[in-house]
Every structure is written in C-alpha cells, then in structure tokens.
Amino acid sequence: MTDIFDLMAEKSGFKDESKYGLSGDLKKTQYVLELIGSPADPDTLKCIITAAEQGMEMNCYSMVTDAVSNLDECIAKFSPFSITPCLKEADFYACGSDAITSFTDARGLGYALTPRNAALAAMQNYWVDIAVTNVAPHVNLIVNEVFTKKYSEPSYDSDMQVVNACCEDLKIFFDALDQQLQENKFIVCDKYTWADLHWTAYVHLCEITGCNSLIDERKNVKDWFNRIKTKKSQCGQDEVAYDMLPNADETLQGRLKSVVISDY
C-alpha cells in the first residue's frame, strides 16, 4: 500500500528523483524528516521552527495544497485519533506537535531547549501553558476567519467583528508578555527556550492576520519579536528559523515551506 507521505511528496514535487530526502536517504548523520501539516496551524509552525532550530531538514507537505482525496482516512491509519501534524522518519511515525517537537529536539544537532535549572524550566512551561491554554483559542479563531475558511471557500469575507473581538481578548496576555520581557532578552531568561518557540508561532500568526497592533503597541514584545526574526538557529548553523515559516501570502495559498539546511 502506498504511504500517504509518498503520495503527498509526489504531489508537492518532492518525488523528483534528483531531490534529496527520499525515504532512508542520509545526509550527514540524520534522516530527513517529513511533515504533514497546515500553514495556518500553530502546531505545524512549532514543528517547523523546532526542526530549523535543531538543524534538522524537514520536507513539509501541506494538507491544503498537497492533499490527496482520502487524506483523513490515510492519516487515521497511523494516527487513530486523527491528531495532526504528523511526522515520518524512516519507519517511525509521530503525531501531534508535542510528540514531534520533543522528538526533533532530542534528535537534533543543537542543545536541548529546556533549561537545566528547575525554576527556569518551570517558568518556561508556565509561559508555554499561557500560550497554549489562553492565547491559542483566540489565535485559532482569528486564523479560522482569515485563512482556514478561505481554503474551502476562496470568496469568503472574514468576519472582522470576530477578529477584532479576539484581538481585544488577547491584549491582556500580550500585556503580561510585555511585562515579562522587561528584563529578559527572551521570555524566561536570556536564553531561547520552548516558551519563545511556542509564542513565536502565535505571535507570527497574529502578525500575518493583520493583528500587528498587538505587537507594535508593546515595545518589549516588538523588540523580542525582532530578535526572533533575526536569531541564528539554536544548533549554530547559519540559518534563521523564522525564515522557514510561511508568510501571509503563502499561508493564504495554503503553502508550506520545507526546512532546508544549507549551512553544513
């Protein structure tokens, strides 16, 4: 039976024999990762950032532009709860952003993102919790209006009342982040942690959906986000993880960029 990753690779153009990354190929000491996800999904973005931060090449297939007819059915074969995004490495499958990011972090070439100090690690997860529990529901509603609904109905007009209400609800959390960033270069300390990675996905989506006032009106958040946009990857390679994220146009078109590490 044909693997869904192979089918989507073919549709996205990755099946071209000249391209590196076909199942089992090795570059340096690693397998190339393959990811199925969506550009409007913050969880997919987290997986892409982690791969880029840890210097892991990742061929990304979009559930919007590279979808095949029985996609859900195929995904259910290795993800019985239909949890996405999904990752394949050789004969191994992992589903869900927590599984994929942990796997990539452990497999990657850089230092692990979790601080060794108990208090800092706990603080990191406090801010991850705020992002995932409090920020994500509002961002998902905005993204749904601005991008996701347009995937199935291109003429759909975003309901700006929903978008504006969500932006309003997000202010309190962006204010808190702004306050937290007063004394630190990154969210928890002067080192990049999972907290920064999670927030990057949500703040990026806020920016490309037109909610940039949430960033621009808060100096510390704005400075932090500029640092994120120019920060060299965690593994020391000359790559900027943020550059691997799809921009507004690409997201609207449903396209995902693959993580390509050229600095070996």
Binding site: F92, A94, G96, A122, M123
Partner: protein
C-alpha cells in the same frame, strides 16, 4: 560560623504543594513527587489564592490554576510548570525517556489524554460511547506492555491521575471491560506510593 555550617536562612524548608481535591493536575504532581520520593508538604485548597497573586503581578486574573508549588521564594502555578519543577528537583533520576522515539510516544499519549479523552469527561453520560472508544484504543496499546510507552514515563503519571479522578467521581466501572488498562492501573497503584493519598505530606 564554621566553614560548612549553614546559616538559618540557608536551611531549606520542605516545598509546599498546593492542590485541589478532584483536580487531575494536582494528582499528577502528587504522584510524581511521590514516585520520585521528593518530600513535599501538600495542602488541599478550594481556590488558588497563590495563582491569583502570581497572575495579578502580570495583570492577569481569574486563571485560578492548580496546583502551585512554593519552594522558598520561588512560586509557580499550573500542572505542566509544577510537574517540570518536581521532575528536575531532587537527586533521584528525572522521568525522561532517553530515546527520541520513546519520548515522542510519551508526548503523544499525553496529548491523546488532554485533547481527546479529557474533553469528553465534561459530559460523561452523553459521551460514554466515545469515552469507551478512546479507552479501547488505549487498552490495545497496553497489550503486552508494562507501561504506556514500554518504560515508566510521565504518560503513566498523566493517565493514572485522570483515572484517579474517574474513580473519585464513581466512574471506575468504565474500565472494567478493559483488561490491559485494569492490569496496568493495578501495577501503577502499587508503584506510586502516593496514589491513595488524601492529604498531608509525601514522605521522602
């Protein structure tokens, strides 16, 4: 003062773990502290004044998160933050799979719990059929395994805490037909000394 003599301020107090009865997150932290044999004083509370204080300092309010840990001048609230703290603190080895694939499976089963199983529990009787479907897959995963991902992991802590809540709410019969889950839970109960704890401290 002698060279190695601790001053009064340096004598560390037992960390305080503030929990809420019936809260799965609180049980997760109690189980982890107990499994790792970390001495903590447990206090059971109704509302999270400590989280309110912490959130207020960031101009957020009403988050009301449990559990919280207070260790000297360090305070943190929320299940994942406290679990992380308890998993790093102390001398016993952290519960963290070394193999990337096992680690990924640990995280996968935790996500299945939080995103697919727990939301169904809000309306238990309406969702009984869907709950049984999730448990059926979970039961199948436990076939020929001692633990959820093969070795003891945080996934076991997360799932067993949720079953503790189900037991407390009188829904323990939901797993009666799941042979593998029943066997696994019996094993977990025996291995986590704090599984049946109601209050007071988890002894070192």
């Amino acid at each position: 003062m002698g060279l190695f003599k601790k001053s009064k301020q340096q004598v560390s107090e037992t960390p305080k773990l503030l929990c809420q009865s019936g809260d799965a997150g609180s049980y997760k932290c109690v189980f982890l502290a107990s499994y790792r044999k970390l001495p903590v004083d447990i206090e059971w509370q109704e509302s999270s004044a400590l989280d309110e204080k912490m959130s207020e300092s960031l101009n957020m309010s009403g988050l009301q998160r449990f559990p919280c840990i207070q260790d000297g001048d360090f305070t943190i609230c929320g299940t994942n933050a406290v679990l992380t703290y308890l998993n790093i603190k102390g001398r016993s080895p952290t519960i963290h799979p070394r193999k990337a694939r096992v680690l990924a499976m640990q995280q996968y089963w935790i996500q299945v719990l939080t995103s697919k199983f727990v939301p169904l529990l809000n309306e238990f009787s309406t969702n009984k059929k869907d709950i049984a479907s999730v448990l059926e897959i979970f039961d199948k995963n436990l076939e020929d395994k001692n633990y959820i991902v093969g070795e003891f992991s945080l996934a076991d802590i997360h799932w067993s805490a949720e079953f503790k809540v189900l037991e407390k709410e009188g829904h323990s019969d939901i797993i009666s037909s799941c042979k593998n889950i029943t066997n696994w839970l019996t094993k977990i109960k025996a291995e986590i000394p704090g599984y049946d704890i109601k209050n007071e401290e988890v002894a070192a």
